[in-house]
Amino acid sequence: MSKTFTLDGKDVPFRDGQTIIEAALEAGHYIPHLCHHPDFKAHGSCKLCTVKVNGRQTASCTMQAAEGQVVESETEELNSERRALTQMLFVEGNHFCPSCEKSGDCQLQATAYHLNMMTAHYDHFFPNRPLDASHPDFLLDFNRCILCSLCVRASRDVDGKNVFALAGRGIKSHLIVNARSGKLADTDFSAADKAASVCPVGVILPKRRGFAVPIGERTFDKQPIDAYVDTRIARKEE
């Protein structure tokens, strides 16, 4: 007999050591998330995956699953707070979806649709974040970075390179690359890196491959994000 907890009333089996979101996704139940990725160590920063466990709110990507937990996720309260978080991420950066190569493949955008986000609600911060087009094959558009640290984890833990890192503090937090010049061209980044394909939004983009898949036929044009629970986004494209 495997152990179970309940998620919105449904039994979810789990193995020891799994977090709530890992068990839920494996069982085909979607919980919104941005910084979680099944291949990497949990980070727990975006807070989109927050659920109520036995009445207490906590991030489901860092909370270990335990027998008999009563987990609530699809409630109006939680979804409206998740919507607010998503809006915060939108106003914090500069997201002009119609001109973004990632539109339709972007997890932030898809999550916003899923949460019925109609406007940005808050005043935009309009930060000044210059692009880095130094690398021959890849472009970094920091305007869209949501600081999920997936590229940091991928580069460090899979590629063994430390190309990316978070720097700064508070609202001035930002992504840096491992070069004195601060330019991607001067790092050992390569197109074959895991870090090259892991960004959930449109920061790390291959050059000269614009709109290869037309708008309307992209990942989340075909199905909404909650339909992708058993195969994670990055893999789906392959």
């Binding site: 005043d123 430390n162 990316f164 700064g168 508070g170």
Partner: protein
């Protein structure tokens, strides 16, 4: 700025050697490198990268997290005015403007000759003797116009800091009321002797019987923490003393460390004895850098007297020593798991918990983190027993509390009271008149209004880390709250979305009200933000960031109502304000350089 060819290796090598070329000590290495060179030069970072075998991103990521590390030149004299509300109330803003005018610098920018920079920093813990500032991270108190002018002269003449008048650097203890902790006559070693007589388990029993709860704010029962740590398996156990004292308005740990360091170190040693640790670390906020020589001297004396080192006081097998680690300007490093990250030479980001530090702390080993005052209190428990201690204070809050009192009162300073003392009593003792409010426990604490002055200090009523800031009738409580909100936005670590973005949104909302664009709509927004920060934030900073606003809205609504100039939602955007940059560039500020609208005319 043509920097001369510099050999960074020359000054970095001895520092690296001192810290065993270990990236674990990155914080201390960067601090010392900077103390030497003034800022962290890219060549120095290249060399550190190579010597410490870490990626450059690691060093830049850490350095850019802390306010007191500079990746760009900041001037040979780096002046930072403390920006607590108490400093503001004592006129710090006008003093800073005066200094900037005198020296021809803009706040936050280095002078063109690379001589000086002037900026604000979060509360430096000198509220009872402000306005205060830091020059190259050394504290200067009691600023006046005259002192500003004198400092400007010294800077212009490039007089080394060591030759500045000692009077500038005098920091008073201002102890006004003594209880058991602040009484004199503690004999170093006596509490350890008593603990050895009890044995580790016996000592733990005494701490349990005392009912002692943490003095750092959360009020967690100390015996439970020590016991869980003692029972946790690990290669090594660690004792950490939290002397980050970042909560604005708090300065009691500074006084305890200045006058009662033996007691604090002895408490840490007792804890080491109980939990089976060999190493203790004092995490001292960078603002208290000036205490280093004094504290190192106390540690040296204790080693001489065998109160530290191998076989402490002849107790076979009990080896214990204490190191001092400095923070570098980050309030979040007072949060215990962020503090541990910082001790490990990392960015001060709070960890995901569980696991808690008692089982997985420093280097993932069982670690007790306690406040300075908590450790000091355990000495008295060792000496006189838990039952004796438990009889002091209230039923659920045993013992005494050292309070830092500042703001509008005749006698600011340090007051020690048994728990259960009323706010009214404290106001009377410190000579406060016409008080409208007290902020207890700093921005993350509670705003107590006149109607509540009979409430008492105790975990069951007003829990506190030790700050007590007094505001008389002349103060604008909206501006008090706005200052606190700016503090949180500045100090958010930026790890989690709700706090990183939410504290800035809150700051913008308060500024919007300040600028006269408020409407009832903004109240709703504040309440929504509060709910979000409370339920979604990763740590206590985010959870409490809305407290000052909610409290002052509830208790000092008129201060907000005068700012509700609009019935309907009004955007924060202000056409005239947006011309500010143009005015600055053209050096014009006459009426022709302004747009006027009817509302402004009627204001």
């Amino acid at each position: 700025m043509a920097a001369p060819e510099l050999d960074h290796k020359t000054y970095l090598d001895p520092i690296l050697a001192r810290y065993g070329h270990a990236a674990l000590h990155l914080m201390q290495i960067l601090r010392e490198a900077q103390e030497h060179f003034g800022w962290l030069h890219p060549d120095a970072i290249d060399y550190l990268t190579e010597q410490l075998h870490v990626p450059r991103t690691k060093i830049e990521g850490v350095a850019s997290f802390y306010s007191f590390f500079y990746l760009q030149p900041r001037g040979r004299y780096r002046v930072l005015f403390s920006d607590n509300i108490t400093d503001r109330m004592l006129g710090s803003k006008a003093l800073m403007d005066r200094m900037c005018r005198n020296l021809w610098v803009e706040p936050g920018k280095m002078s063109e000759d690379g001589l000086v920079s002037v900026d604000f920093t979060s509360c430096t813990g000198m509220c009872d003797q402000g306005p205060a500032l830091l020059v190259n991270n050394i504290a200067i108190t009691r600023m006046t116009e005259q002192r500003v002018d004198e400092i400007c002269d010294l800077i212009r003449e490039q007089v080394p800091l060591a030759q500045w008048p000692a009077e500038f650097f005098r920091v008073e203890d201002n102890i006004r009321r003594k209880g058991l902790l602040l009484e004199d006559g503690f004999v170093p070693g006596s509490a350890l002797q008593a603990a050895f007589a009890h044995g580790p388990e016996g000592m733990l029993d005494e701490v349990r019987a005392s009912g002692l709860r943490g003095r750092g704010g959360a009020g967690f029962t100390t015996a439970i923490k020590w016991e869980s740590c003692r029972n946790a398996p690990g290669e090594a156990h660690y004792v950490v003393c939290n002397a980050d004292e970042g909560e604005p308005g708090t300065f009691k740990d500074r006084v305890l460390l200045n006058g009662y360091a033996d007691k604090v170190f002895e408490g840490m040693t007792l804890c080491g004895y109980v939990i089976g640790a060999r190493k203790g670390m004092l995490y001292l906020r960078g603002e208290y850098r000036y205490l280093r020589d004094h504290l190192e001297a106390v540690l040296a004396r204790r080693r001489e007297r065998r109160l530290l080192g191998a076989n402490v006081l002849g107790q076979a097998g009990f080896d214990f020593d204490i190191e001092i680690h400095f923070g570098a300007g980050a309030y979040i490093c007072g949060e215990e798991s962020a503090l541990i990250e910082s001790l490990e030479g990392k960015r001060g980001t709070p960890r995901n918990r569980p696991p808690f530090p008692v089982t997985h702390g420093y280097l993932n080993q069982p670690t007790v983190v306690n406040n300075v005052e908590t450790f000091a209190a355990t000495c008295h428990i060792a000496l006189k027993g838990g039952a004796w201690y438990a009889a002091i204070g209230t039923a659920r809050s045993a013992g005494t509390k050292v309070m830092s009192i500042s703001g509008d009162c005749a006698r600011p300073g340090i007051y020690e009271y048994p728990f259960g003392v009323s706010v009214r009593q404290m106001l009377e003792d410190c000579g406060a008149a016409n008080t409208q409010a007290v902020q207890v426990s700093g921005p993350s604490g509670v705003t107590v209004s006149r109607a509540e002055f009979d409430r008492v200090l105790a975990f069951e009523d007003i829990g506190t880390a030790g700050a007590f800031m007094v505001f008389d009738d002349s103060r604008d409580m909206f501006e008090v709250a706005r200052n606190f909100v700016h503090f949180f936005a500045h100090e958010s670590c930026g790890f989690c979305t709700p706090c990183r973005v939410g504290t800035s949104l809150l700051k913008n909302l308060m500024d919007k009200l300040h600028n006269g664009h408020g409407s009832p709509y903004d109240f709703q927004e504040i309440e929504r933000l509060n709910a979000l920060l409370l339920s979604m934030s990763h740590c206590g900073l985010g959870h409490t960031a809305c407290n000052p606003v909610l409290d002052t809205i509830a208790k000092f609504r008129p201060a907000y109502e005068v700012r509700m100039l609009h019935q309907e939602f009004t955007p924060a955007f202000d056409l005239d304000w947006s011309l500010q940059a143009a005015r600055q560039m053209t050096g014009r500020d006459d009426s022709g350089a302004h747009l006027h609208n009817e509302e402004e005319a009627s204001r």
